[in-house]
Structure formats: C-alpha cells, structure tokens
C-alpha cells in the first residue's frame, strides 16, 4: 500500500523532472537497485500506477484482457510507435499479464547473484572496455546495475547477451510478406559462450587461455535444403573496439572460409530482416557504435513473463494478425514500471544502412525490451520486440541447474518500409539433436569452433 500522494500523474512528473535535471536513477519512490538488494522485489520503488495495468488505465484494461485496435489508444504511451501501429492497423493483439515484481524471475538466478555480489567493481579502461577493479576483464553479472548513462546500459548488454555463460537456442524463423503469407521458413541454431564474466560454468570467472575473448558465437541453419549447413562463427576479442573475426561454412564450397568482419548489416537469409548487428540489440562491439544517450524513461509494455509455451511439445508458439493471421506471435505483455530509452549511432560502420537505433531497456534489470532502427534518412526502418520468460508455467518446467531456465522465447522483427515481418522463436529442438539450453559445457566443441562449423556443414 502506498500513500495516495502518488497519484496518477506522479510518475509522469517524476520522469520529466529527472530528465530535465539530467538525473538518471532507476526507481520512483526509491532507487530500484536498493529495493532489489533488500529483498529482490521492486514493489517499493514504484507507485501503484506503475505496478499494474489496472492502475495505469484506471481499470479500463485489466490483467487478462487483450490490447487490440479498440483500446490501444489507452496504452499508446506504453508502446513503441511501430507496435502501436501494428495493434491499431494490422490486427496485432497483446494479452496483458500481471506485472512481475520479483526480479529473480526476470533473469538467470546466478546472473542476478553475481550482479549483487560484484556491484560497484566495474569501470571502463582507457580503451573503452569494461574491466574489473583490478583492470582484468569483467568478472560476471551486470557491471552497471544502476546505470547512469546510455553506454553503461549498452556495455552490460554487449558483455552478456543471454545472461548465461553459454547458451544454445534452437530456432524457427518465419518470414511473412506484406500479403501475410509465410514465404520463407528456416530452422537453425544460435550458440553463444562467454569465456569471461562466467557466473555458472566452471572455471569462473575466466576460461583459461580464452580471457582475451569476449564471446564465441555461431549461427547455423538446418533447413531448407539450400541453406542447410550454412553457418557463421564470430570470435569476439575482449577489446570492445575490435571487430569479431568471422568464419563461415558455405554449403556450396564444402569448407570453412574466412569472411570480412564488417559484414554485420546484411540479411542473414533471404526474406529475413535480421542482421548480425541486430543480435540482442547489441550485436556489434560496444565502441563500434557511439553517441549513446538516454533520451527518455517511463513505463512500458513488454513480454517478460509467461511467454513460454510449455504446453507445446516443441515449445512452439501460435500466431495471429496480419492479412492471413500469420504475422504476429500470440503473446502476453505486462506493465514495466520503468523503461530507459537509449539511442546510439553506428559510427564505426560508415556504410551501414541505418543511421541510429533506439533501444528500450527495463530499468530494473537492464534487459532489452525493444528496438527501432532508422534508415540513413532518419526514417523508421525496422522494429524489434522480444519476449522473455521463466520456462516454468506451473505445469511444465525446464531446469537450468538448480533454478528454472530463463531465456527469451520469441522475437518479432518488422521491416516497416517493406512490410515484411520476421518471426523468430526459441523451440525445444530442431532436427539433428540440437536442443535449446544453457550452460552446457559441450556447447563450445559442438558449435563454436571451426571444427564444429565443418561438422554442421552440409556435404
């Protein structure tokens, strides 16, 4: 129960005042990070109007309701403009869930523990890389849990994408054209492993012999036939200014070849609107972008819980909307009490087709909630909104060590200019014994070496 002095306009006034004063501190009633450190719950940091959709809409939208074209105006300020348009004009619907206040349900358990344990120890070195207080690579968790600048938010995101030490995501990708038809369907896998800042997998915090690397990451495809075996391996130097080295297996060539490192703004596959640069809204080395700036903060609607479809044997999601009912994922969203909006420019990529990106972060734990990129003329180009969840729906549960698995569940990427929409989901498995999961020590040898690329390649 909060005092009524926090009326419906209090939050709005608070965010405006903070912005005007140039003060960036998450939390309205108290610093969010203090609330989390106290008991892992953010309820004390925000007034009622930011903790329930009923409070925000004065009861006109309730938990369990759908947001649709008829009522989306009530939450227009909680959506990026692209998602608002999709709901208003393209038949997209969002089911509202209760706001999650227990932050331990919003990220991997070990990551949150490390964030609390290591708070205050991170800094940028002279080269712009995040280092520990001893000057060595970061040791795990979010280095800037109480971010004061845009680059701190992006630094944390770039350091750890999936917030696990290693992850493998079995993917299904559907590309929907402007007529609403699924024209391209792909199956594939995405693997990522952190040799530094490790919080779950031994050895911690560094993988001996690999501490000069930030990340190993690969992506490959198993269907359709023409792209089966197409795979790319990125090896990221820890230096946040250096480009990852890129190796690829092209099925026609039957061998692994080196690729230029700056190929980060090319569609990975025909029909899709996904670039390597788009990964986790922070797909490029931190210092290849710049002019990071916080441009706003306030409540937001995003899918961060209850989006896992554990009732489907392969965790597949259903779709709706668009001309043929295939354009958008069925999903739930909840009121995020505070999101931070950050812009950045790809100054290290003078030929990139985009001029900037605008990314929404959850102020409580700095998880990315959505992104819009802009073309070189400054017009909105593509929008991304993802969903996360604990893989625990009360009936079904997937464990990650001692705790339920937490991860993303699906992403919607829309090319606003062409009308194409790419739907991507994390599924339980794709053909060939590729199963989603985290912190499996086999991930490195199975997916993240040149030998692995050859093994995954078509013959």
């Amino acid at each position: 129960m909060h005092l009524r002095k926090f009326d419906s306009g209090y939050s709005r006034r608070h965010f405006l005042t903070q912005a005007a004063q140039g003060v960036f501190s998450a939390g309205v009633l108290m610093p969010t990070w203090q609330a989390i450190a106290a008991d892992g719950d953010v309820s004390k940091a925000y007034p009622d109007e930011l903790l329930s959709i009923e409070g925000y809409t004065k009861g006109r939208i309730k938990t369990g309701d759908d947001i649709h074209a008829g009522n989306v105006e009530l939450v227009k300020d909680l959506l990026e403009p692209i998602r608002f348009e999709q709901v208003l004009k393209q038949g997209r619907r969002l089911t509202v869930a209760r706001t999650t206040t227990d932050v331990m349900r919003l990220s991997p358990w070990e990551y949150i523990e490390a964030t609390l344990r290591n708070a205050g120890r991170a800094r940028f070195d002279a080269g712009g890389s995040v280092v520990n207080d001893d000057g060595q690579p970061w040791i795990g968790g979010n280095p800037f849990p109480n971010p004061k600048s845009g680059i701190e938010l992006f630094a944390a995101q770039t350091l750890s994408w999936g917030r696990h030490d290693a992850s493998f995501y079995a993917l299904r990708i559907s590309d929907v054209d402007i007529r609403g038809e699924v024209n391209f369907s792909y199956n594939g896998g995405w693997a990522e492993l952190s040799p530094v800042a490790r919080v779950s997998m031994d050895p911690k915090p560094y993988l001996p012999g690999h501490a000069d690397k930030l990340r190993y990451q690969s992506v490959f495809f198993t269907s359709p036939e023409q792209y089966k075996g197409t795979s790319f391996l990125n090896v990221w130097p820890y230096d946040h200014s250096k480009f990852p080295y890129l190796y690829g297996y092209v099925p026609q060539f039957r061998r692994v070849r080196q690729f230029p490192t700056d190929q980060r703004f090319e569609p990975l596959l025909p029909g899709t609107t996904l670039y390597l640069s788009d990964a986790w809204a922070a797909g490029d080395p931190l210092n290849t972008w710049s002019n990071y700036k916080i441009i706003g903060r306030g409540p937001f609607l995003a899918g961060i819980s209850g989006t896992w479809n554990g009732s489907d044997p392969n965790w597949e999601h259903r779709s709706h909307g668009g001309p043929k009912g295939k354009s958008f994922w069925d999903t739930t969203v909840e009121l995020i009490p505070e999101a931070i909006v950050v812009e950045a420019e790809p100054t290290g990529f003078p030929r990139a087709p985009i001029s900037k990106k605008r990314v929404w972060f959850d102020a409580r734990n700095q998880v990315v909630l959505g992104m819009i990129t802009y073309d070189r003329k400054g017009a909105p180009f593509r929008s991304f909104d993802g969903a996360y969840s604990l893989y625990d729906d009360g009936k079904n549960k997937v464990m990650d060590g001692k705790h339920p698995y937490w991860s993303w569940t699906h992403v919607t990427a829309a090319d606003i200019q062409s009308g194409r929409i790419t739907r991507m989901e994390q599924v339980k498995a794709i053909g060939g014994d590729h199963r989603s999961g985290a912190n499996d020590p086999k991930i490195y040898d199975k997916y993240l070496t040149q030998s692995a690329l050859m093994r995954l390649g078509a013959l």
Binding site: N183, G209, T449, R455, L459
Partner: protein
C-alpha cells in the same frame, strides 16, 4: 526439332507453374523420432536445362565433327619409300563444293573422303534433367548418420543430337570396340563404366545408367567427442580458401559428366566434387589450430561419355578406363592439413598422397580382331599380305590390328587432316602421337607402319591406313599414378578506414608443389606407354571483398583470383601440347592442293588464369544478380551472368548464360583452355522446389 523444343518449353512452364503455385510449407524440415534418435529430412526437386544459343556444336561428337560432309583429299603414302611419297597424286577439291576433280586412276589409290557420310546433326539443348536430392540424417547424441541422396533423370532426345552406333552396324562390321554401354549405342548420359566391370558403375554407392543416376554424395557415420570429429563412410573433403582454382582442394576428383564445369560458377564444385569411402578425423587442437586428416578410397574424376553433350574426348577414339582392371579401386588417398587462425592472419599447410584423379591417357591395344575392308584396293592388299605373309588365323589383318591401338569401324578417323586437327585440338602432338602408336606396339610394323619424322610422311602413312580401313577408331586407356602434393597457404585480412575500399579485404595465397607428377597424356603431348613425369608448382592468389556501394542494397561480393600452373592446364593437360595448329599436308606432287600445313605444338610457358566474380543481392535477398568470368590469358574467355530469384523459401529460379570464346584474342585457339569447350554457349535454367 521445333516440336521437341516446344515440348521442353511446355514442360518448363508447367513445372514452373506447379512449383510456384505449390503452397508454402509451414515449416521446411521434416523431423521425427526414429530408432530412439532425432531424424531430420530436407530435400529439393529441380528441373535443370541447358538451351543452346548458337548453332555451334560439340566438335568431339560424331554428329558435329568438323569434317562431316567436308571433302578431304586423301593420298595414301608408299611404305616402300618410308612413307615419303604417295602411291598416287591426290585429287583436288574445288573449294566450297563437295566435289573433286579426280586425277587419272584416283579412287583406287587416292580419293576424297566425306567421313563415311556421317551426317551433321544440330542439337538445340545441352541438358534437360530432373533432379531429386534428399538429405536424411539420424542423430543419437554424439553419433549421427549423415547422408545426401542425389537422383537425376534425363529422358534424352528433346533437342539433343544423339549419335547412335547401331545405325552403322552394317558398315564394316559396325563399332565393336570399347565398353558396349558407352560405344555401341546411343549416348550414355550418366553411366560411369570402366573396363572389366560389366554394365555397372565401379563407384560404391552409385547406380547409374544411360538416362539416370542415383548416388550418395554423403553417407557416413559421424562421431563427435569434444574437439574431435570422426566421420566414417562416403564423403568429400574440401580444403583451401581459393574458389574454383584447386590448389589445396585436391582430395577428391570431379564428376564432370553432367555439366562439365558449366553449371552455376558461384556454386563452385558443389555438384561436381566426388565423394569416396573413407575416414576423416578433424581435431581442434586448441582455439587456434585445427587438424584435418583423411584416408579415402581413390575415386577418379568422371568425364562426360562419348557423344554426350559436354563430351571432351573425340568420339573416334575409344577410351578404356582401367580403374577396376588396374586395381586402382583398391588404392587409398590420404592427407593431413593443419590450419591455424590467428585473427587477421591464418596459415595452413597440407600434405597429401593421392592418385591423380584425372588419370593419364595412353594408347592401348584395341583388342578388336576385324579385317580391313576388302572393298578398297589398299584394304584388300593389306589383308592378303596378312593372310599370306603372316598367316593370320582369322581373315585379313584383324589379328594384327587387335595388337595395335586401332580398330576398323565406321565413323572413325578418315583422313590425316582429321587426325592433325583433332590431335592438336586436344593438345597432343599429332606426329608424336602417331609415332608412339607405332613404336610402342610392335605388331604395327607388320603392316609397314613406322615412326616418321616429318608431317609429310605422317600424312602419307595416316592416309594410307585410313584409306585402307575406311576409317579407324583409335583406342586409348586411362591409367592412374600416385603423386604427393605439398601445400602452404596464408590469409591476411586488411584493416583500413572503416567502410573504405581497402578495409576488410581478404588476401589469400596458396601454393602447392607436386614432384614427379603425371599428366592427362602419358607422354605429355603423346600417348606413349611410359608415364612421363615432371614437378609442378601451382599458386593461387585470391582477393575478396564485400563492399556496400549503396545504403539500399546489401553488400556486393567481389572476388578476383589468379592461378599459375607451371606444367599443365586446368584439366591436367601438359602445356607442351599447346600451340599446335590444324591443316592439311599437300601431296608433294600436288601443286595446287589447298590448305595450310599443320604445325606441331610449340608448347607454352606456364598457364595463367584469371577469375573474377561479383554477386549483388537485392534488398531482402529475393533477387540476386551475379557474374563470373574465367580468363585464360592466351585468349580464352568464359563469361557467366546469372540471375537468381527466390520469391519464397521453397522455390528458386536460376537463369544463367554461358558465353565462351576460345579465340577472344591471340592467333591460335589451341593456346588456351577455353577453346576446348567454346561450343557450349547456352542459357541455363533451373527451377527448384526445396523442403
């Protein structure tokens, strides 16, 4: 012919319509639990066609020989003068007209040949096939069975100009030498046949015949244990950064029977690289270094069959592949590569012991016991000599000819001029090839055949036997020899101003050294029994770049490559056989005979090839334009523009055009590689549906 072409167009449109209207698969891959493992299945169905765009025909096929219907004066030589004179003055041709002005007594001891009246045929298609490929895989944890099955069917006809040996059965006993499946009927589009193995393919896991083939480009058991991967079964091995130029990519031969190398160039050898039974072990020694070792059954490259659209061996010659008879199917290739990636740099080194998959061709006894025809004076005379002097047990000279590389048969070589033309065309020395056919087969001497040292004598001798035989088929055999290949390569990735032209260029150099190498012809430029060898150095320089020329389009892929080969061309023909010219040798007593003397090959010093390719995807990658160019610096050019359309995930349309010129510049088309295949200007069409 028009009706056939119409049929093809109709079939094409129907296939395209069916494919385009097929509903998109909700999800492409088929997955299921099978035998406790994870089963997955992908595949594609594709209609593939090559439509000729010029009237130029394959000069190595019977229906389109240079000499069909062309009157060639033949003046058989006199063996008593060491073949330095003719028995009778030659006839004279009126240029442009297929008639001759016979000299007195001509016909008995000289004549004008029209190649046995083998008619000219004009093909309008180079290929039309239906392809099915499926890739089932079954995985149990660290073990998996990986496979790819490829099936093709080409109905034949429909725009082909098929020669059929059965049409000549009544002429001098027909064609009886060679493998029946290859030489005794109509063209065999897909069957790979070797001597001594019946009518079946010698390659394990391949079933092929005249109109079909089914094989497993991949079928192996894979075991993965940490950094180690072991594959046991049928598989291919590809090494190196260079594309198309095979400096490191030497583990497997090429299957050239379907499209030679003239399918979509940017796919490199995806459909050509052979597979072989064996074991391959990959080991990631550490983050930087990867080891790759293999041991495989030796499997040779497969050449197009006689009279098939892309055939490259003149069909007057009968090739005996000794792969099975010589025991080479029991031989092993093996090799090791070490590759290190050091960020901006990479290094690789390899050593391989292999049998050269191209093999070496050399003269072979024909084994055909068939007398010279008694329907001409010389044939009758030779037969009498054989029966009376050598007391052969079968009529005429058949027993003796069987011990030489020659067979009396219709649609063979009819004149010395034809011999000179084709020998130099395929980069042989016509004179030396003749001499080794005689000197290495002593029985030839019984027919007064002797090595000679000048074109005149060669001309006279050849005309004598072609006259007597009313055309002869030459028999050659394909044998194989082990060689050791050592390679060293490095890659450097440039770093410059981001986005600039000089940023992110991949520069790669690969060099190989093969000591004591044998080549496509046993004697380099002749077909002697002994396999000559020499050391060969190959070097490929590759420069690659992805560059965004505009904000609206994805990056353009650009690659330039240079290849140097010290001894041989891209298909292992020794460069000493380059530079011969066609021509006719007038009889010494024929003052007005037309023609230009054929010139023996002078050879060329090193082969130099350039390749350029560019690929420009359109936004969303629905369209893709590309072009590839191969240049032999001595005057040969292959240009291939290509358009690919992918309107949806399961449907692809490919259009490409092959423009070839064997005499783009330079004075002698036999000085470059491309002239061998420059008949193959075509429009390629591929309509595919994949799942």
């Amino acid at each position: 012919m028009k009706r056939n072409f119409k049929q093809i167009c109709t079939a094409t449109l129907a296939a395209a319509a069916m494919t385009a209207s097929a509903p998109a698969l909700a999800q492409a891959q088929i997955s299921a639990k099978v035998l406790g493992g994870d089963f997955s299945l992908n595949g594609l169905v594709r209609l593939e066609m090559g439509i000729k765009t010029t009237s130029e025909q394959n000069q190595y096929n019977q229906g389109s020989y240079e000499f069909n219907g062309v009157g060639i004066a033949r003046a058989p030589g006199n063996p008593l003068t060491g073949w330095n004179s003719t028995l009778w003055p030659s006839g004279q041709i009126i240029p442009g007209l297929p008639i001759s002005i016979p000299l007195p007594s001509a016909g008995l001891l000289s004549d004008v040949s029209y190649r046995g009246n083998v008619p000219n045929e004009s093909a309008t298609m180079t290929s039309h096939a239906l392809r099915l490929e499926v890739s089932p895989a079954l995985t149990w944890g660290d073990f998996s069975i990986v496979s790819r099955i490829r099936a093709l069917y080409d109905p034949g006809g429909m725009g082909y100009a098929d020669f059929d040996a059965r049409d000549y059965q009544s002429v001098n006993g027909g064609i009886s030498g060679g493998h029946p499946a290859l030489y005794h009927g109509s063209p065999n589009y897909y069957g790979y046949r070797v001597d001594g193995y019946g009518d079946r393919s010698p390659i394990p896991l391949e079933w092929s015949g005249r109109n079909y083939m089914v094989d497993f480009p991949a079928l192996f058991l894979q075991y993965n244990n940490g950094p180690m991967t072991v594959r046991v079964g049928n598989q291919s091995v590809a090494w190196g950064q260079a594309i198309f130029f095979r400096v490191f990519d030497t583990a497997n031969g090429l299957d050239l029977r379907r499209k030679l190398i003239l399918d979509r160039a940017l796919e490199e050898y995806a459909d050509e690289r052979m597979s072989a039974l064996g074991i391959r072990i990959g080991y990631q020694l550490n983050e930087l270094v990867h080891l790759d070792a293999f041991g495989q059954q030796f499997v040779p490259s497969i050449l197009p069959n006689p009279n098939s659209p892309y055939n490259v061996i003149p069909s007057q010659f009968t090739a005996h592949d000794r792969y099975k008879e010589g025991g080479w199917d029991d031989k092993l290739n093996y090799g090791l590569r070490v590759k290190g990636e050091f960020g901006q740099f990479s290094l690789q080194a390899m050593a391989m012991s292999r049998y050269n998959p191209m093999g070496s061709f050399r003269w072979s006894k024909s084994g055909v016991d068939k007398a010279l025809p008694n329907t001409n004076a010389l044939g009758l005379l030779f037969n009498q000599v054989c029966n009376v002097v050598y007391m052969t047990s079968t009529p005429g000279c058949g027993q003796i000819l069987a011990q030489t590389p020659f067979e009396v048969a219709p649609a063979g070589v009819f004149s010395a001029e034809e011999w000179f033309f084709y020998a130099h065309e395929v980069r042989l020395d016509a004179l030396e090839a003749l001499n080794t056919a005689i000197s290495d087969f002593p029985e030839a001497g019984k027919l007064f055949a002797v090595p000679v040292d000048n074109m005149q004598a060669a001309n006279n001798q050849l005309d004598a036997f072609f006259f007597a035989g009313e055309g002869l088929h030459g028999h050659i055999e394909r044998v194989y020899r082990r060689e050791n290949v050592f390679g060293l390569g490095g890659t450097y990735l440039t770093e410059a101003e981001p986005g600039s032209v000089f940023d992110q260029i991949i520069i790669n150099l690969e060099v190989s050294y093969t000591p004591e190498r044998s080549f496509a012809y046993s004697g380099f430029k002749d077909l002697r029994q002994e396999l000559l060898t020499s050391d060969e150095v190959m070097a490929a320089l590759v420069v690659e770049k992805y560059h965004r020329f505009s904000q609206g389009f994805p990056a353009t892929y650009l690659v330039g490559q240079y290849l140097y080969r010290s001894e041989s061309d891209l298909v292992d023909r020794h460069l000493s056989g380059y530079g011969g010219t066609p021509g006719s040798v007038p009889a010494p007593n024929c003052l007005t005979c037309p023609g230009q003397q054929p010139q023996a090959p002078k050879g060329v010093n090193g082969a130099h090839y350039l390749a350029f390719a560019a690929l420009q995807p359109f936004p969303d990658y629905i369209w893709e334009l590309s072009a590839a160019v191969l240049i032999d610096v001595r005057g040969g050019v292959l240009v291939q523009p290509n358009a690919k359309w992918k309107p949806r995930g399961n449907f692809t349309l490919d259009l490409y055009y092959n423009y070839l010129s064997g005499n783009a510049w330079g004075s002698n088309r036999n000085n470059n590689l491309i002239s061998t295949i420059d008949h193959a200007d075509e429009l390629g069409v591929r309509i595919g549906y994949q799942f």
